[in-house]
């Protein structure tokens, strides 16, 4: 699965911003500690720089769920 790679500064710009009706960006850390957003967020955003984010392979965090 591909995701859009964010810098720390870009992540800060997107937190709390809507990318479509009722739906907020959710910058998240992957298993390599890279900030990313989904391709869905990139597709529906009106921000051109978001649409042009570099794509990377998603690496799932390996942290086990709490209290397993």
């Amino acid at each position: 699965m591909k995701v859009g790679l964010l810098t720390e500064e870009q992540k800060e710009l997107l937190v709390g911003q809507l990318y479509m009706v009722d739906t907020y960006f959710n910058p998240t850390l992957d298993g390599n500690d890279n900030w990313f957003i989904s391709t869905i967020e990139m597709e529906y955003s009106d921000l051109q720089w978001v649409k042009e984010l570099p794509l990377i392979d998603y690496v799932e965090p390996t942290t086990p769920p709490e209290n397993e």
Binding site: D22, S38, Y58, E60, P65
Partner: protein, 346 residues
């Protein structure tokens, strides 16, 4: 005609004339005998001397009939409160869906939705559901509504979406990496350690995720979760520790975890309406259940989503504890609605 006046001068026993002139008759003056002024005590004593004591003589006093219900003041008959049909509530939800741009709400779907709401009322489930999401209309805007209170506010428990999710006629699908929906339901406002439930109707069991959480919130060892493990077994937690049913492989369709008491038999996992596993209960405090329940992920101590799922959900709820029969009735009603929506899995 003469008019006689009282003979004020005449004394007791004297005679007076009374009548028409020439036809007068003679009457004896019988004025009241004057008595000395008496005190109240003396009056009462004299009165009691004159009165005979009352005694009941059945020969003299006939009882016509014994006192019965007709002699009592009429007790108003309580008017039974009719069970609501749920039609008004169903129509409110459907209106919200259509007004938000939802599609596919045909007369058949409307009728099925009314039937579903009626089942919730008749089966006594309405008051046990804190919020539920029928995911009808096929769009983000139409899927957000809480079927119990379809208003567009956080206080009404409408969904707010984060990250990557898609919406279609099957329901809501989080992307498994950063997508989830915030219900705004704070469990501790409603539940206690022996009273709570979660459930969702999933379209598929297949996933690439290790521990996908379909719905829940967590605060260290205090958890209210419904999830699976390694693409296989159903897991859940209410409200400390989590437990693997082991021999209960995850099925598609309606999955529910519910707890109604501190007894092991009353904490159960249900799949497609049937109890598949019971869990040893705990009595740990649940004071950390103050973060809203997420759909498509677990709320990690209020810090955001965790354990993202990629399963499509067609119906999801947060509720108070449900008994086995209530879970069975709810699962049946939800599945019937899915049949009408052509997205049932069983």
């Amino acid at each position: 005609m003469s008019k006689l006046r009282p003979n004020r001068k005449s004394g007791l026993g004297q005679y007076v004339k009374h009548g028409i002139l020439g036809k007068q008759k003679v009457y004896r003056n019988t004025e009241f005998e004057r008595v000395p002024e008496l005190t109240d005590e003396e009056k009462n004593r004299l009165l009691n001397e004159k009165l005979k004591p009352y005694t009941y003589d059945p020969r003299k006093h006939k009882v016509v009939r014994a006192a019965g219900p007709k002699d009592l003041a009429p007790t108003p008959t309580p008017t039974p409160t009719p069970t609501p049909t749920g039609y008004t509530e169903a129509d409110a939800y459907l209106t919200a869906v259509v007004d938000a741009g939802g599609t596919g709400i045909t007369p058949t779907i409307s009728a099925a939705t009314r039937t579903f709401y009626n089942s919730l009322m008749v089966d006594g489930l309405w008051d046990k559901l804190i919020s539920f999401y029928p995911f009808m209309g096929g769009t983000a805007a139409s899927h957000k509504f809480n079927g119990k209170n379809p208003v567009d506010t956080d206080a009404g428990y409408r969904l707010t979406y984060y990250g990557g999710l898609t919406h279609d006629s099957d329901g809501l699908t989080p992307n498994g990496s950063n997508g989830y929906a915030d219900t705004h339901v704070l469990p501790l406002d409603y539940i206690d350690v022996n009273n709570g439930s979660l459930g969702t109707y999933i379209q598929t069991t297949a996933t690439t995720k290790s521990y996908p959480c379909e719905i829940g919130t967590t605060y260290y060892n205090q958890q209210m979760l419904l999830r699976s493990k390694n693409n296989a077994n159903l897991l859940g937690s209410l409200y400390a520790g989590w437990n693997n049913p082991g021999t209960s492989p995850l099925l598609d369709g309606m999955i529910v975890i519910s707890r109604t008491s501190g007894d092991a038999a009353d904490t159960g996992y249900y799949q497609q309406g049937s109890l598949t596993y019971t869990n040893a209960p705990n009595t740990s405090p649940i004071t950390g259940m103050v973060y809203p329940v997420f759909i498509g992920a677990a709320n990690l101590r209020g810090a955001g989503g965790n354990d993202y799922s990629d399963r499509t959900q067609s119906f999801t709820f947060v509720g108070l504890g449900l008994t086995s029969s209530e879970v069975s009735n709810l699962s049946s009603a939800v599945n019937t609605l899915q049949v009408a929506l052509s997205r049932n899995t069983y």
